[in-house]
Symmetry: C2
């Protein structure tokens, strides 16, 4: 049995957590001109531009990835004082504090260079989130739901984990520092469905939803091929490139080394790669995430 | 009548002129291991990593766009002393000097976030370049030839203008700071065809070529929509996104403003957009280049 989520009174929509992911930043600007797009009767909505200095510098971040700075210990550690760590504390003060937040729900808007389409990343699997996932998929044909509920909301280090409820809207493919209209429109639409759902939920008017839906549950992360000295020696195989959420089976081509050697996947389950060849993950030499396909019962 | 191009004795292949265009950088590394790929009997080949500091910083450039620093006046101006300007002078000393270069042919390897496929940018329309374009298109079905011969080689500010003959290999779509295998393979293949052609040319063994081929001749550059205050207020229309080298006619949708207004193209010729929504051109708020389709007689 799950706890009944309380009424949502305050929603924050966050854009520009990464300074070179432009869709959220430009949607915030648009919504400042057209507030009715994000206004609903049963709750208040505010917008937050999380990392304006990184946007100004046209970079993902100045000092460190802001969307990993919201662990409870890190927020409480005064020695973590670089720009993103300081912004994290300021945003936690503004929207939180984490664990007892004045904001009930956070939507954090992100882009990926991967071919992930319009993905809704859920961090909890309670009734509220299951209904939210079902509602968004029912209203947006190509929407994808990703579950990153391997740890509790409190244990997550994401910005949206400040609030008791929060999601990441992850839309691509879009190169860093570019605005694509298709990607912008998908993000706009998915955000509106989320707001619509919260409003219906608050009013106890959630419509009949499908009994189940398909989702992709995070399982593991694969690194790009490295030499013993840690130098990158290969790339994502062309068959896998852009094949986000397409099945990968034992023996399928996975990487191509720069010398031409093909590396095959040796996993023992049906994997669904995503965040394939995401530019930002090269910092840590990550190649992709792997999920398992699951059926969520609403 | 055109001047007969002299025998090509020295070729330089340049990668990493922009530090976040990875294909050329990783191909240089590969060719260091497999020198036979770029070795031909009738000329010597060297490789040059043009902007290692920008690659290290994972940026296009540190101080300014290196591929605009090779004008004769700028190369001779000692006051232009930032990193890229200094590298330009060093590369000019290594491969040039421009106007009397010790290098006969330069291939400069670039990526674009635009959907330009494998594009060969020719900067001159002499017999040599026309044969080269015909040869590459005859041997690589999807290759595209772009003519940027609106000014003379000497007047160009591109790195490859140091030599008497030089081309830009421009391959995409690829996000900045990413390696895509398809894009890497296209660049690898196009470079090999260029080297093969030079070798055949030197030996007077150029095979029979088609009498004509289709190319796209640069005509003008369009800016993204701006307010009177110079703020970006719109984006490339979704119909134009990814439609590089597809015809654009008077009255076709061109931009979408963030308020939803559609802007139509008011030009009076059949235009062929390319470099559509290229990330690097946002610095100058450029939306795309427009070309006219031409038939080149070989």
């Amino acid at each position: 049995m799950t706890t009944r989520t309380k009424r949502i009174n305050n929603v924050a929509i966050v854009g520009g957590t990464h300074g070179n992911e432009f869709s959220g930043i430009y949607l915030l600007r648009k919504w400042q001109q057209q507030a009715s797009d994000i206004t609903r009767g049963s709750f208040s909505t505010q917008t937050v531009f999380a990392n304006p200095q990184a946007f100004e510098a046209n970079k993902r971040y100045l000092d460190c990835d802001m969307n990993r700075q919201f662990g409870l210990d890190d927020l409480a550690n005064p020695d973590l004082a670089n720009y993103e760590q300081s912004r994290a504390k300021a945003i936690n003060a503004q929207l939180g504090p984490k664990g007892d937040a004045k904001t009930d729900f956070i939507i954090d808007l992100h882009n990926t260079t991967s071919n992930m389409g319009a993905s809704l990343i859920l961090l909890r699997q309670d009734t509220f989130n299951r209904q939210l996932g079902a509602y968004v998929k029912a209203n947006m044909a190509d929407a994808i739901v990703v579950l990153e509920d391997q740890v509790s909301m409190t244990e997550h280090h994401f910005l949206c984990s400040i609030a008791d409820q929060g999601v990441i809207v992850e839309v691509g493919p879009q190169p860093q520092s570019v605005i694509r209209q298709d990607v912008l429109d998908w993000m706009d639409e998915m955000t509106k469905h989320i707001l619509d759902f919260i409003d219906l939920f608050n009013r106890n008017e959630v419509p009949a939803l499908p009994a189940t839906f398909e989702a992709f549950k995070y399982h593991e992360t694969l690194k790009l091929p490295e030499s013993e000295q840690g130098e990158r020696i290969g790339m994502v195989h062309r068959n896998v490139q852009d094949a986000d959420f397409k099945v990968l089976r034992h023996g399928d081509p996975l990487f191509t080394l720069f010398d031409g050697t093909v590396i095959y996947w040796d996993g023992d389950y049906e994997a669904y790669p995503h965040f394939i060849n995401e530019a930002a993950y090269y910092d840590n030499n990550l190649a992709m995430s792997l999920a398992k396909k699951v059926t969520v019962t609403v």
